[in-house]
């Protein structure tokens, strides 16, 4: 048994557009997914995440490169011979069949004996809490229930890998949150590898063991949610996952706290953590997340401290979002947690207030400019 | 030996299956092939043959002599035939206009009643549409003939002293044509009117349009594709129709459809019949193209 249940080796997928042009949907992507992992492909629409998933499922074949399932190269194996199953974005339930018939379909295709089919379908429906709905037709179910049927239909075949293509996209926010937890629990319970395609970064962070962030057909970074959020390896990842303030800068030199960068707009130098291979003199993007900007009356010891002024504040309950203008007219966002309960407006900052923005070196990331 | 041959055959079959699986172009071609072939043999080739035939010469005994000849087309300019052509266009146009005037308000009405009622009303339009058209003509013959129901009704009421001669007149042909083609006009009109969203009309009202303005500026322009489809579906078959003139117009009414039929079956001048048929075909194709280009046309109005 291979260490990786799914491997993509330098996979490229090009499509011909109806106008006769060629678009590269997936551009030299390599991935290695372990047994039992909850793995997410995250990126904006059109980034190639769904195409990658469809190549694993067998609906598309790579233009070049190889998809391996359990160490076996798939080549042009059609979907019905692959040991993976898919939960579709539109659910793709068979409208002319009952819930039972939908879930039983895959087992019938495997020529499973009728008694076993009955037993396993019952189990699968119990697992997704749909017992008693066997004889309903899909259109008699709510969106959430249809989603569960799609899940049961794919899981009942006990695939090596379950592929999920934005399965929660059509549900409302509350139901989506519930389903996220349920899916994660289910995955741990059955121990099957899940590959989850989503454009919702919060969803990916909540559920995944590891995430690959994709953009324009390229896999930019693969790592745990903490790695992706705290140590993004490029400007796109930092920007797409959560929010970030950026300064354009130039690498000066490495030192014991990290590296020094010149920020022309701020007319100052900042110390931060270099990510990836950076050379002195190189153009870089310096990023700091809003919740990591500390607003104070005084400059803090050991911090990059920049003088600034409050422009605008937005109170959102748990936090106050503060828009600051720093030296040279650069504006950044800072989020202050509201740790004390008070009605005093001064506690939430006032426009015009002169302050210091403390950017601690461990919170400042120096990324290669895209 | 046999086994290995079978092996190769199987492999070949598997290969061709794989090729079919991989090439969507091949799949599309495989699916369209029966239709393309069938229509080629039983529609395109016959039409080309008619085209060729129209350039041939009629022999002395009604046979076809294969000698190139453009007389069949020049004969069509003869005032006798030109009159038939103009008359056919006139009957087609009159039929279209009358069905439009009757059909538009009705389609508009059906599109505005509540959904349940709408289904019933549509159903009632569909029944005659799906009923045999000779039966529908027959119903009118029964009513219109000299000793028919209309005359006996009017005589009994004392409204007339002598039976009216309606059957076997151009009026009768028009009555029959309108009755035949009314559903063909109503259905596309209804489809296009039904598609108009209420919100658009509400927006018009909101912006100050009174009912008439809202009809003229919103409803009517949006129903133009339906008018086109309905007119094409009425005008063209009406112009080529020979059954209604045969049954209701007596020998007096000859449309271009009758002309074509007569050349083939009674006058036995196939080349001239073929030429008239070509004329009819080009006329209809040209008209269809002109209108569809001009107004736009969506196929779902046809069926």
């Amino acid at each position: 048994m291979s260490e990786f249940v799914i491997e993509l080796v330098d996979v490229v997928k090009r499509f011909a557009t109806p106008e006769g042009n060629e678009v590269t949907a997936v551009d030299h992507v390599s991935l290695q997914i372990r047994h039992g992992e909850f793995f997410s492909l995250l990126g904006p629409s059109g980034c190639g995440k769904t195409t990658s998933l469809r190549m694993i499922a067998g609906f598309e074949w790579p233009t070049s490169g190889e998809v391996l399932i359990d160490g076996k190269p798939m080549g042009r194996t059609p979907p019905f011979w692959r040991p993976v199953n898919t939960v579709f974005q539109s659910y793709a339930l068979f409208q002319h069949m009952t819930v039972f018939q939908n879930v039983a379909f895959g087992l019938e295709m495997d020529k499973t004996p009728a008694s076993e089919i009955k037993h396993r379908v019952g189990e699968a429906l119990e697992m997704v809490k749909l017992s008693g709905m066997e004889r309903r037709k899909p259109r008699q179910l709510s969106g959430g229930q249809q989603q569960r049927v799609a899940l049961a239909r794919a899981l009942v075949k006990r695939p090596k890998v379950l592929l999920l293509d934005e399965p929660l996209g059509a549900l409302d926010l509350k139901l989506r949150r519930e389903m996220q937890i349920e899916l994660k629990t289910l995955q741990e319970q059955v121990g099957i590898t899940f590959i989850y395609v989503t454009h919702d970064q919060e969803e990916a962070l909540t559920m995944s063991d590891r995430i690959t962030v994709m953009n324009r057909g390229k896999a930019l970074q693969t790592g745990s949610p903490v790695e992706i959020y705290e140590r993004p390896n490029c400007r796109f990842v930092a920007d797409f996952i959560g929010q970030a303030n950026f300064f354009a800068g130039k690498m000066l030199a490495f030192d014991d706290q990290g590296a020094r960068v010149a920020i022309p707009a701020l007319q100052t130098e900042l110390i931060g953590q270099p990510v990836g291979n950076l050379e002195p003199g190189q153009a870089v993007a310096v990023s700091i997340r809003p919740e990591k900007v500390r607003i104070a009356q005084e400059p803090a010891f050991g911090s990059n401290s920049v003088r600034g002024r409050v422009i605008h504040t937005t109170y959102i309950g748990s936090n106050t979002h503060v828009l600051l203008e720093l030296a040279g007219g650069v504006r950044i966002n800072a989020w202050e947690q509201n740790k004390i309960s008070t009605l005093d407006p001064k506690a939430y900052f006032l426009p015009g207030q002169e302050i210091w923005a403390n950017l601690f070196p461990e919170n400042v990331l120096i990324l290669p400019e895209d | 030996m046999a086994a290995s041959t079978r092996g190769t055959v199987l492999k070949k079959r598997r290969l061709s299956l794989a090729a079919l699986r991989e090439s969507t172009t091949a799949q599309g071609l495989a699916l369209i092939a029966p239709t393309a072939l069938y229509l080629l043999v039983f529609m395109i080739v016959p039409m080309i043959l008619v085209g060729i035939l129209s350039l041939m010469t009629r022999g002395p005994y009604g046979n076809v002599v294969y000698r190139l000849n453009f007389d069949n087309y020049t004969r069509l300019i003869d005032p006798l035939y030109l009159r038939i052509l103009m008359y056919s266009i006139g009957v087609g146009a009159a039929t279209t206009l009358i069905t439009l005037v009757i059909g538009y308000p009705l389609a508009y009405y059906i599109a505005r009643v509540p959904a349940r009622q709408r289904n019933v009303l549509l159903f009632l339009i569909l029944v005659p549409f799906w009923t045999n058209f000779i039966i529908r003509i027959y119903a009118w013959i029964m009513i219109l003939r000299t000793e028919g129901l209309l005359n006996s009704f009017l005589l009994n009421l004392g409204l007339i002293k002598v039976p009216l001669d309606i059957l076997y007149t151009p009026t009768a042909v028009l009555i029959g044509m309108v009755y035949e083609f009314l559903p063909f006009m109503i259905l596309p009109l209804y489809t296009s009117l039904e598609k108009i969203e209420n919100a658009q009309l509400e927006a018009a009202a909101d912006l100050g349009a009174r009912p008439l303005a809202s009809f003229l500026r919103i409803t009517f322009p949006l129903s133009l594709p339906g008018i086109t489809a309905g007119s094409i579906l009425t005008f063209i078959p009406a112009m080529g129709m020979f059954v209604v003139p045969d049954l209701m117009g007596g020998a007096k009414t000859i449309l271009i459809g009758n002309l074509v039929r007569n050349q083939f079956l009674t006058a036995r001048d196939w080349p001239f019949g073929a030429a008239s048929s070509m004329l009819l075909m080009f006329l209809t194709l040209a008209m269809t193209l002109y209108y569809t280009r001009k107004v736009g046309f969506s196929e779902d109005l046809l069926v």
Partner: protein, 259 residues
């Protein structure tokens, strides 16, 4: 469209149009039960015209011919036309636009043009006119109608259900039989119903492609009504209208249940 109440004038007008559409049909039906042969005035109720109808060997033969032709041409045209609809809706291939526009020809050109083309074709290749040539012709004009109807129903087809079937282990053929066909079946059935009606209804093309002994029902009715009015035709018409009414009603009910 708006559900605002249509005006009284519009209601009245519409009622009159329905009267215009149905009065002839209702009279047709009533007089099929009339004792008087000349069908001029009502004389009394009788079912004898129906009895006579079923004793008329010529009519029975015509019915048999019509049904045979309609059945064969409907089956063949439905299969071929459905494949074409799938091809046009889902695939792009060389000659796409050409085939697509060719499909509209029989819908648009007058029937008489197609009728004489087929007559010329069959006589030039020397085929004897009869049930066979009629059936071949009916298939030709039915294919485009089936293809257009089925294609219209394919517009909202969600291709991912086929992918789902394959994903669950069904090969292309199984996917077609178990998932694609059942899903598009309502469209295919309405295409078939249209083909059936067109075939049973057709006079013009049949007229040009029929030979001795292959008289169909419309041809027989035509020759019966050409010079005379006879209650037998009323009886036949009544049966026809009633059948159409029932078939359409069942079709509507099936459709409503599916919704």
């Amino acid at each position: 469209m708006s559900e605002k109440k249509p005006s009284a004038w519009l209601r009245l007008f519409s009622a009159l149009v329905y009267l215009y559409i149905y009065l002839p049909i209702v009279l047709l039906v009533i007089f099929s039960f009339n004792k008087q042969k000349l069908n001029v005035s009502w004389e009394g109720f009788t079912l004898s015209w129906y009895q006579e109808l079923f004793r008329n060997q010529q009519i029975l033969l015509a019915i048999r011919n019509s049904l045979t032709i309609a059945l064969v041409s409907t089956i063949v045209a439905t299969i071929i036309g459905t494949l074409a609809a799938l091809a046009l809706q889902r695939y792009r291939f060389p000659g796409y636009t050409l085939t697509e526009s060719t499909l509209y020809i029989p819908v648009i050109i007058p029937e008489v043009v197609m009728g004489i083309s087929l007559l010329v074709f069959f006589s030039l290749i020397g085929v004897r006119l009869g049930l066979g040539t009629i059936t071949l012709s009916h298939i030709a004009f039915s294919i485009p109608f089936v293809a257009l109807v089925v294609r219209a129903r394919l517009h909202g087809f969600d291709k991912s259900i086929e992918e789902a079937a394959m994903d669950l282990g069904a090969n292309e053929l199984t996917t077609f039989w178990r998932v694609t066909l059942p899903t598009i079946l309502p469209g295919v059935l309405s295409g078939a119903l249209l083909a059936l009606t067109l075939s049973l209804d057709d006079y013009v093309i049949t007229y040009f492609t029929a030979g001795p002994g292959s008289t169909t029902l419309p041809l027989r009715i035509f020759s019966m009504v050409r010079f005379a009015v006879t209650p037998e035709v009323n009886a036949l018409s009544t049966i026809w209208v009633a059948t159409v009414f029932l078939v359409l009603l069942i079709g509507q009910m099936v459709q409503n249940r599916q919704r």
